[in-house]
Amino acid sequence: MKILGIAAGFATALTLCSSVSALAATQISWWHAMTGANAEVVEKIAGDFNASQSDYEVVPVFKGTYPETLNAGIAAFRAGQAPDIIQVFDVGTGVMMAAEGAIRPVAEVLEGAGLKFDKSQYLPGIVAYYSKPDGTMLSFPYNSSSPILYYNKDVFEKAGLDVNNPPRTWGEVFEAAKKIKTSGAAACGYTSTWLTWIHLENFAAWNNISYGTNENGLAGGDVELKINAPLYVDHFQAIADLAKDGTFKYGGRTSEAKQLFLAGECGILTESSGGLGDIVKSGMNYGIGQLPYDENGVGPQNTTPGGASLWVMAGKSDEQYKGVAAFFNYLSQTDVQQFLHEQSGYLPVTLAAYEATKGSDFYEKNPGRETPILQMMGKAPTENSKGVRLANLPQVRDIQNEEFEKMLAGQQTAQQALDAAVQRGNAAIKDAIGN
């Protein structure tokens, strides 16, 4: 009982302290899902912002993985306890967008505080993904990444492949993979993380073909999937064929395949640019190339952003919105963006930060770090390449993964797998928007 009493005393004292500081500065809560080095970046940015002024205090709170953070935000909103800012991963964008009453568009927040939001200063591919069909910016892009190709230079040399010229098309990747396997340079030629994100969503954008109707969902929620078009079918049949003798090796639904590459088991990997840190840390002799495109398509067009953005929740006071706006304004500053880009491996959001990084010798010292930006910036996005937005993208990805696994296990062909994914996916989308 005594201990309880003391604890209660402490709690009261703490509450008093925090309410005292709340009098001095308006607190802005920021729920995020960053771990390791990226979490340190979050703390540093929030700390620097707090030190730069005295009106607002940004309080970052770690809420678990991306889905856990989203769920925590949803539960908190339902209980009337939503945070001011919440970090939501790319896949959750559709979920947030469909919840118009729960969020406040970033453009509105900034304008309300008398700050101008100049779209032309931001990377076009990223802004397009986080905007409404009418162009209103909905969330603030915080950490964006893009899929690229990694290859093991030692394995390439052993297999007699050109170490300085990584394969540029899918056909070349598959040929190189076969060579790696048959020459015995590695147990498997090629593997990939995130089949859904890389081989469907980015495959569509990079080759400029439709993923679904209504501009892949960006123009409206009523989407019919188009992922059983011949280009997709041929691509996946090629992978399924390579999987038969282990030339392609499946690692799992998310980023598990990175381990196969790090262990030297597979010679080529397609993975998010955000995965670079682990590969650098492993000390392996690696090279980086562009995401391959299909030689039978019209690409390469541009890739779409993965990663996460910051959403502002609805129902807060004007004072809090002003604080959020001030923080976002701080986040867009060139030196902050440059810090974020160089420390975390995520892309800079503003063109000025990109130019500043280019001006320094960062890209010379860290080859490959520019590749994801060049991919995303290469061309102005078309209606096929702004990204994919579905009210239930996590569920649709689950369905696609299930069908891929059955295909890779040899239970069905690529045509059957993609037809089933389209049919089941369309039914799920109809259900989700029928609420």
């Binding site: 979920v95 919840a99 690692g251 639904r253 381990q259 262990a263 239930n392 609420n435």
Partner: protein
């Protein structure tokens, strides 16, 4: 005749019961009622628009081939887990019963796995059987077995059953050892003098006398496999490949917390609630009568 204790105070017994009742009310009845209510709603994740739809969610869930698949997976998984966990535990108990020296040590060691949390057990097996880095997976491959739980449904099922059963063996072992000790030595010795060999003695004397324990454990193990193995499946396969290891409990989680289809997820949990009530009723009605905790 046992003497009856009479409380002179009429309020005191209720006061003494109150804390327990309050906890049950807040942590069980309230969420259960809420789940029941939510199972008849269709709403978006944020609860901005919701519609009362009576039993539409139940109809949808029960007509969904994926739900029937989950039911099938759950039955296969539960039966396999119960059989393996009980079979191995019985074998170990019979062996441990024979050991004379350091019998206490063996028993203590065999009980340890029960203290391991399901998610940790899952991770252990995941590492040991991981196709690319697992020690045991490498041995399997050297033995010429194409081990691939990532894509092969049977391998995945074998893996989760092994992990789930391993964790439950200790518990079963304890009960079997107690059951074996309760069997009179004289019966076994008489049979031995009559010339019955060990295997014969086991099947004709020991096993029938263990029947109440076995039946009790069967119910406990089935319930365990049904409801307490979420952590293992979540850590090892995540329900895949395809939907090969997606059990009913895992589907409730996946539909509710990953896919954010709250109404259908709630409907599934109500169905699970009914299954639990039925299983518990069976256990109390039949099992408690037959098992004698000697």
């Amino acid at each position: 005749m046992t003497p009856r204790v009479v409380f002179p105070n009429r309020i005191l017994p209720y006061l003494l019961l109150a804390p327990q009742l309050a906890i049950t009310l807040v942590f069980f009845y309230l969420p259960a009622v809420q789940a029941l209510y939510q199972s008849m709603l269709r709403e978006d994740p944020f609860g901005l628009r919701s519609r009362f739809v009576w039993f539409a969610n139940f109809r949808k869930v029960l007509a969904d081939p994926a739900y029937l698949n989950a039911l099938h997976v759950t039955v296969v998984f539960s039966v396999a887990t119960a059989v393996v966990a009980m079979g191995v535990a019985l074998l170990l108990a019979v062996m441990a019963d024979k050991v004379v020296r350091s019998r206490g040590l063996y028993r203590t060691l065999l009980i340890w796995p029960y203290a391991v949390a399901p998610a940790i057990a899952g991770m252990l097996f995941l590492f040991m059987f991981n196709p690319s880095i697992g020690t045991l997976a490498v041995l399997l491959r050297k033995a010429g077995i194409a081990w691939d739980p990532l894509l092969n449904s049977t391998d995945a099922m074998v893996l989760v059953v092994t992990a789930a059963a391993w964790k439950q063996i200790s518990y079963n072992f304890l009960f079997f050892v107690a059951g074996l000790q309760a069997i009179p030595k004289s019966l076994i010795e008489a049979a031995a003098i009559d010339g019955a060999r060990e295997v014969k003695r086991f099947w004709t004397i020991v096993f029938p006398l263990l029947a109440p324990t076995t039946f009790f454990l069967l119910v406990i193990n089935t319930t365990y496999a049904f409801f307490d193995t979420f952590g293992i499946i979540h850590a090892v396969t995540g329900g895949g490949p395809g939907k090969a290891t997606e059990t009913l409990v895992y589907k409730v989680y996946n539909d509710g917390f990953v896919n954010l289809i709250l109404g259908e997820s709630a409907a599934q949990s109500v169905i699970l609630m009914i299954i639990v009530i039925a299983l518990t009723a069976i256990q109390f009605r039949y099992v408690e009568r037959k098992v004698h905790y000697g």
